[in-house]
Amino acid sequence: MLVFERRRQPSKFWTTITPVLAVVLTMIVGGIMFALLGKNPVEAIRTIFWSPLFDPNLSAYARPQILVKAAPLVLIAIGLSIGFKANIWNIGAEGQYIMGAIFGGGVALALYPLEAWWIFPLMILSGILGGILWAMLPALLKIKFRTNEILVSLMLVYVSEHFLASVSLGLLRNPDGIGFPGSRNLQQYASASNGELFTGTGIHLGVIAAFVSIFALYGLIKFHRIGFQVRVTGQSERISRFAGVNPNLMVIFCLATGGGLAGLAGIFELSGPTGQLSIDFNVGYGFTAIIVAFLGRLNPFGMALAALLMALTYIGGELAQFMLNLPAAAIQALQGMLLFILLSMDFLSQYRIKIRKLA
């Protein structure tokens, strides 16, 4: 019979290789799903995973776009991963992303049409602040009343979505917009615009910030005391107290970094690619970032690769929508499937499978 024997430590080999295997398996299962939808599976998978990178007609446009889409995913996933390491589950990044955009965008719209160099930095700071404040609600409620941060942070996503709807139809609506919903377009407001850094690529400051965050997290986890405390808290809260960790401060720290980086991603996205606040400003980056965090094994470089892959599926998905008439929802299902398959394969890194003869 088959016996599962728990490894003393997760296998390094399997931990590294399973995300790759999971992607391959997702392509196969996803292909079956596309075939059931009546599409040519090989063509669909190739359009999603291959064409944006290597198709000579598309790659010049698509390659930099992958970086643009990966940037918010990296920023949010980096922030969330700190909490996940410490067993603090902030899954409301989508809401913190929205609040970052509303706070930062609100500052810019309040100052319009003033032109000054300090407006953009102020926007970024208030975007971060917006995300942090929104994440402090589950943090403080957890500390004070022991409420579950998963449920509270998630409820707040819905609250922030309604808030976004109200401000983009009311308070922050473009007064010159002849009745159209949505705010002024920040791309047309020089002091608040997060324009592209290299002409024709769409690459903006957020991409640079994402790069910086990868190395910052690496440094924090590897070399700073806080990184150690985060890891100990995740393994055992009791032991972490002996190591001098204040669990309440840990909750605040984890939610603040998650919220702050999600808010930062939100304001970069608003001032850059999106331009204006509207009802459909948020597209689910906060949830996809959860997949990125797990797929990247909570490792900063792993998450960067995972974010690139998810960004690839977004771009490839748009292509497949356009070229093969594949529904947009198929990509969402594919991403969820990937996380599922990855989690089931984690078994291989935690356990050794042995065949034992029945006595």
Binding site: M155, V159, L339, L343
Partner: protein
């Protein structure tokens, strides 16, 4: 504004119907959590149940088949979660989240050609003169079949959990799986059964939403109802009858904000729409913060990994 426009009898009977989806989902999750498993995928199972039930009822015209499709779809998705967490020992929090993300994506995919279609009417039992009784008829005897099924299910779950041997085994596994295993109970088998039951309930709750309550299919139809169901289990302190109370509270607030919007309260409708979520948070705070015994209310092994050793 005109509060007189809100008919109290109609309000209460509509509130009961509005609370059924979360009531069913929360009841299922309660059984799952009593067995020591935390399945955060309720939202995913609900919405898959909703879309599968809706597609079935539209194609076959049969409410019964629609209901069955909802239950089976939720159950199958739950079984996937069960196999991953119980047999392959994946992280319960992460797997539950994956279930929700996958369910939302898959439902949008399955339902893309079904938006805007009206499903056939869902039948109500003919209760004769009872339905015509003044006041009582409106309050108790004018619902569709599933409302009665839901309340019978609450009674059944409560009875099985507290008065039968199977319920005792399930609870003992949830309180301390190692001790239950040592007594010879099949921890994983019982948990898988509980998980599938929970999935069936969540699927049915979603089906109720799509086939009866709304009744229509739109992407993201459940709008957080699954998460609210999870919160209700905590709010109910893992007691079946208290789930009804929580579901009424949620149903009442949802309905009240719709009514207030309808009678033209001078408040931005977006703020009113936030109310159910904010009330849920407040309810969580009240129950977690004020009950000094709160830490002992949750099943002892909730969310913990069980690995059978020889």
């Amino acid at each position: 504004m005109d509060f007189a426009a809100i008919n109290p009898l109609l309000f209460i009977s509509t509130m009961v119907a509005a609370s059924i989806p979360v009531l069913l989902a929360a009841l299922g999750e309660l059984v799952v959590e009593k067995s020591g498993v935390l399945n955060l995928g309720v939202e995913g199972m609900m919405i898959i149940g909703a879309v599968c039930g809706f597609i079935t009822i539209v194609h076959t015209g049969s409410p019964l088949l629609g209901v069955l499709a909802s239950i089976i779809a939720g159950g199958v998705l739950a079984l996937l979660f069960g196999v991953l967490t119980q047999i392959l020992h994946s992280n319960q929090v992460a797997t539950g989240l994956a279930l929700t993300l996958f369910g939302l994506g898959l439902s949008a995919l399955l339902g893309q050609n079904y938006a805007g279609i009206k499903p056939p009417n869902f039948p109500k039992p003919a209760l004769g003169f009872l339905s015509d009784l003044p006041i009582f008829g409106q309050l108790f005897f004018k619902y569709d079949y599933l409302v009665y099924v839901a309340f019978l299910l609450v009674i059944g779950v409560s009875y099985v959990l507290s008065r039968t041997r199977s319920g005792l085994i399930l609870r003992s596994i949830g309180e301390n799986h190692d001790a239950a295993h040592a007594l010879g109970y099949h921890v994983i088998r019982v948990r898988l059964a509980a998980i599938v039951f929970g999935g069936g309930c969540a699927g049915l709750g979603g089906g109720y939403l799509a086939m009866i309550r709304v009744p229509q299919w739109t992407e993201g139809l459940t709008a957080g109802a699954g998460w609210i169901a999870l919160a209700l289990v905590v709010f109910a302190s893992w007691k079946p009858y208290r789930v009804i109370l929580g579901a009424f509270l949620f149903g009442g607030v949802t309905l009240l904000q719709l009514n207030l919007q309808a009678v033209g309260v001078k408040l931005n409708p977006a703020y009113l729409s936030m109310a159910p979520y904010i009330i849920t948070i407040i309810a969580l705070v009240v129950i977690s913060g004020t009950s000094s015994r709160f830490a002992t209310l949750a099943p002892g092994s909730l969310g913990k990994l069980f690995h059978k050793t020889m």
